[in-house]
């Protein structure tokens, strides 16, 4: 039995409420048909949700005239994504660590750390409005998601 080839997608998203779920569903189908397990699907769904919500809410500051540009590339070894918003970017070093004792009861600020925990690689490109992230299957040195679920 052969697995399907590479899944490629490029989309311009205009609305957080209506555009994210179809993207998530398509990615989930692409992962399942390439043999990714439920732990991988969970990790990627969570990371994508955080990335897209951040792009609309924080990147574009909920400006309805601004778009979010999404690309996905999935093959049997890895799934990589790029999310670009039309905002000014941000300083990653200014984001406080939500797991510090004094920040535990603050209700926001966990999206980036969850993406980092569940993906093998997460990178913001200057000025901070382009996010690239990769999930590698069976990544022996990867973070929580890929490493512990392989």
């Amino acid at each position: 039995m052969s697995l399907p080839g590479s899944f490629q997608q490029r989309r311009t998203l205009t609305d957080l409420r209506t555009d994210v779920e179809p993207v998530q569903d398509e990615v989930a189908r692409a992962l399942a048909s390439r043999g990714y397990d439920t732990a991988a699907a969970f990790a990627i769904r969570l990371a994508l949700e955080e990335a897209l919500v951040n792009a609309f809410r924080h990147g574009n500051r909920s400006d309805p005239t601004k778009r979010v540009h999404f690309t996905a590339s999935i093959d049997s070894r890895e799934a990589s994504f790029e999310v670009r918003d039309e905002g000014p970017g941000f300083d990653l070093t200014a984001v406080p660590d939500p797991t510090e004792e004094e920040n535990l009861e603050i209700p926001s600020g966990r999206g980036i750390m969850l993406m980092r925990a569940y993906m093998s690689e997460v990178e913001y490109l200057p000025p901070g409005n382009i996010l690239r992230m990769v999930y590698r299957r069976d990544d022996p040195t990867g973070p929580v998601g890929p490493a512990s679920k392989a």
């Binding site: 957080l16 409420r17 779920e21 439920t38 732990a39 969970f42 769904r45 969570l46 949700e49 955080e50 919500v53 939500p98 797991t99 535990l104 009861e105 603050i106 209700p107 926001s108 600020g109 966990r110 999206g111 750390m113 969850l114 925990a117 929580v144 512990s148």
Partner: protein, 119 residues
């Protein structure tokens, strides 16, 4: 004010407000906001609330949902109440561990164990 159908199944069990979610995925911001509002009303309507939030059937949640839970926890504490969480599946429990929120919430394997833990 909108009158969206409730996202929660709420029961009162011997003075304990037991809340279950109707959604498998707690990701959508509007749903999360509504859930927060509904739970806040339940807390507001009780003097020293004893609340159990049961996650049976929940498969996905986002950091925004965690934020709402933190707000709920803070609100319950303000009213000198008690909050317990239960039936969190292993994948979601891992999210609590990564974010270290398992340190601020009292989490039990089952609703029965959670109910037994109320003072």
């Amino acid at each position: 004010m909108g009158s969206s159908p409730s996202r929660l199944n709420v029961r009162n069990q011997n003075g304990i407000t037991r809340v279950e979610f109707l959604d498998r995925n707690i990701l959508d911001e509007a749903i999360i906001h509504q859930i927060g509002e509904e739970i806040a009303k339940l807390i507001d309507g009780t003097a020293k609330p004893k609340m159990l939030i049961c996650f049976k059937g929940v498969e996905h949640l986002s950091s925004a949902a965690l934020g709402t839970l933190i707000n709920v926890n803070n609100k319950v504490k303000q009213k000198e109440g008690q909050l317990r969480l239960s039936d969190i599946n292993p994948q979601i429990y891992e999210v609590f561990q990564i974010t270290k929120l398992n340190r601020i919430f009292q989490i039990h394997d089952t609703a029965e164990k959670a109910i037994a833990s109320f003072a």
